[in-house]
């Protein structure tokens, strides 16, 4: 009797130890911005296929380092690598999801969407050249809105972040002053303002300081019901931050002609396009060490593009348009090859 129990327990332990070994996990690391949607996809994907995802949201920089060292199957970065960098590292790069950034303000008597701004004005505010809210440049864009004469408190991210990358990339496109004086990066040398950690830090500082302006991911502004500003886009049209204007920006981009999908969705063309948006990019080795792992990761992304749209909407991300997904899958077939030269996907 005793023996019987022992054997049963041993058998059970052996079986339990064996099962996870069969279903290999996909490993990835990088961007914190993309983590919520990847986690949600992974959860559903595991239920559908039994294959799990182990994603470490350590930041884009860390993700690039880890994929370079081949400790993970894919890296995720909010800042695309240039085609030269991609070629040098032997990577394949493709976008996985898009997100939008919105300016948020804290002004007495101004409700969400009542204030309109444009790129050059935003750049001047963040350069410290426009110092008060009733500056003629702002008043001109907001005829009929009563603006206070109080000082503008500029709030920006203190931690390196893909949100900052998208924001500074937009300001560089619309202001040559910004481009030459500050530039584009996940962290920059801010001429003015206070730095706050994370979206929650910017949101909180903006909510507390009267006369402040900050920028946060759209999901954050929406869920916290923050006072967002409308923007005047590339075509001179006034747009609100909504799912439609984000999708318009993603669809209007020139993905087909861009090498390695090196596209940043800022200042996008199109009457309805929201001007401040960007994508998270996946980096994988063109000749992977383990073709099976890579194939498994690609299957996961293909599944996400196809089945994950509703989940992306729920979390206020902007899914990739189908036309772009077709391009991405074509790239996989052409560029990711095993050591035998055969396509992995």
């Amino acid at each position: 009797m005793k023996h019987w129990t022992t054997w049963a327990v041993a058998g059970f332990i052996a079986a339990a130890a064996f099962v996870p070994a069969q279903a290999a996990e996909i490993t990835g690391a990088g961007s914190t911005f993309v983590y919520p949607i990847l986690a949600k996809w992974a959860d559903a994907y595991k239920k559908a296929t039994g294959i799990g995802l182990n994603y470490q949201s350590i930041g884009s920089g860390g993700g690039i380092k880890q994929i370079t060292n081949k400790t993970v199957t894919f890296g995720a970065s909010d800042m695309p690598l240039t085609p030269e960098q991609v070629a040098k590292a032997g990577f394949v790069q493709f976008p996985v999801i898009n997100g939008a950034v919105v300016p948020v303000v804290n002004l007495d008597g101004i409700k969400p969407g009542e204030l309109t701004l444009d790129g050059p004005t935003l750049a001047k505010i963040y350069l410290g050249e426009i110092k008060t809210w009733n500056d003629p440049a702002i008043q001109k864009l907001n005829a009929g809105v009563k603006l206070p004469g109080s000082a503008i408190v500029v709030v920006h991210r203190s931690d390196g972040s893909g949100t900052t990358f998208i924001w500074t990339n937009y300001l560089s496109k619309v202001s040559s002053d910004w481009k030459s004086k500050v530039g584009v990066n996940t962290a920059v040398e801010w001429p003015v303002g206070i730095g706050a950690k994370g979206n929650e830090g910017v949101a909180n500082n903006t909510t507390q300081a009267k006369g402040s302006i900050g920028y946060v991911e759209y999901a954050y502004a929406k869920q916290n019901k923050m006072t967002f500003a409308k923007m005047i886009n590339h075509e001179g049209k006034t747009v609100s931050p909504t799912a439609e204007s984000f999708i318009a920006a993603a669809a209007g981009a020139q993905w087909a002609t861009a090498k390695d999908f090196f596209v940043i969705l800022t200042d996008a063309p199109g009457d309805k396009s929201w001007p401040i948006a960007g994508s998270t990019f996946i980096l994988m080795h063109a000749v992977p060490q383990d073709a099976a792992d890579t194939a498994s990761a690609l299957k996961f992304f293909a599944w996400g593009y196809k089945n994950g749209k509703q989940m992306a909407d729920d979390l206020d991300y902007v899914p990739m348009p189908d036309s772009v997904v077709a391009l991405i899958e074509k790239t996989w077939k052409e560029q990711i090859k095993g050591s035998d030269g055969k396509p992995v996907y």
Binding site: T32, I58, G59, S60, G61, G62, I64, M79, A151, V153, S158, D159, G160, S161, G162, V182, G183, V184, N185, T186, A187, V188, E189, W190, G193, I194, G195, A196, K197, G201, N204, N205, Q208, A209
Partner: protein, 331 residues
């Protein structure tokens, strides 16, 4: 000692063998214990050495590129990859000074009150409150600082400081500018609250160790409580008190999360302590995850090395101060 203890007048052969065995075992145990403690002590040196080596190695690219200018340049520009450490160094030192200016006197007064003046029934509640203050994680201090303390400062304290000192020379520069609520001063105040328990509990413990006969003698000579504290208790316990202060200072210099939340994280040096600034550890915590590029990462590691050196200098100065004090008193 062992030999003496085991020597008897009539020892049989069997007993002698036994004795040798016992002795060998004792010797072996002794050697094992000695080596074990030595290995533990050596581990500290090895770990410290390893950290220094990896810090120096990691910061080499930055130090090679910028040289000594890394120590005095204010620029911190990830776009052009030009880095200088003076702004975070300045923020680290100034926030720690503010913290110590507040926490040292307050901490010592609490400890003196608890040991010399406090009625018995109040001692335990205050003592426990101090220890609880030490047990709060720093992230809680950060969140509390951002959500509660900073708005309070912004609405009441900072406007008051600005209007009162607005026309006084020197002080007007120190308290200049719009009341953001967060900034160098706020960080210093939060740090003061955080290091207070260290200074208080260590001072209280050493104050309690003062022999009552010394104090009674002083009171017998007609000393007031202040005189007893100043001329008997503090001189007798200076080594312990300075130890506690240094422990607090060490925490203030290295504190990361709480400071990051309330300091404003701006790589600038301004004369006003109401203005946003940054510290070394806050900069590293903020930027390390997304630092792309070898020079950027290396500069952040170099900041860590500088913090290490600052802490080392502070500890060395404390030792020196202690030696001077001892020499003057003639101990």
């Amino acid at each position: 000692m062992v030999d003496v203890a085991l020597q008897g007048s009539a020892i049989s052969v069997a007993e002698q063998v036994d004795r040798a065995k016992v002795l060998r075992r004792l010797r072996f145990g002794d050697a094992a214990f000695r080596n074990l403690t030595r290995a533990a002590a050596m581990a500290v040196l090895v770990i410290l050495g390893g950290i220094i080596i990896s810090l120096v190695y990691g910061s080499l690219p930055a130090l090679r590129t910028f040289g000594f200018s890394f120590l005095y340049v204010e620029t911190w520009n990830p776009v052009t990859e030009k880095f200088g450490a003076i702004a975070p160094m300045y923020g680290t030192v100034v926030t720690s000074i503010i913290a110590m200016l507040i926490a040292v006197p307050v901490g010592l007064f609490i400890a003196l009150f608890l040991t010399e003046l406090c009625p018995m029934w109040l001692r335990r509640p205050i003592g426990i409150a101090i220890e609880l203050l030490a047990g709060i994680p720093s992230i809680i201090y950060g969140i509390w600082g951002l959500f509660v303390f900073a708005p309070f400062l912004q609405q009441y304290v900072q406007p008051f400081l600005i209007t009162v000192f607005g026309h006084v020379p020197v002080l007007s520069t120190l308290f200049e500018g719009p009341p953001y609520g967060i900034g160098i001063l706020t960080a210093g105040l939060i740090l003061a609250i955080m290091v207070l328990p260290f200074i208080t509990s260590i001072s209280r413990d050493v104050f309690e160790a003062v022999p009552p006969v010394l104090k009674e003698a002083a009171y017998g000579l007609g000393g007031t409580t202040w005189e007893v504290a100043r001329f008997v208790v503090l001189p007798f316990t200076r080594v312990g008190v300075i130890g506690g202060v240094m422990l607090g200072l060490g925490r203030a210099l290295g504190e990361t999360m709480a400071v990051t939340f309330v300091i404003g994280n701006a790589h600038r040096i301004s004369g006003s302590i109401l203005a946003p600034g940054t510290t070394i550890s806050a900069t590293i915590a903020n930027e390390f995850t997304e630092a792309v590029g070898d020079l950027y990462t290396s500069s952040l590691i170099a900041l860590g090395l500088i913090l290490f050196v600052i802490t080392f200098i502070v500890l060395a100065l404390a030792r020196l101060m202690l030696m001077r004090l001892n020499a003057r008193i003639g101990v």
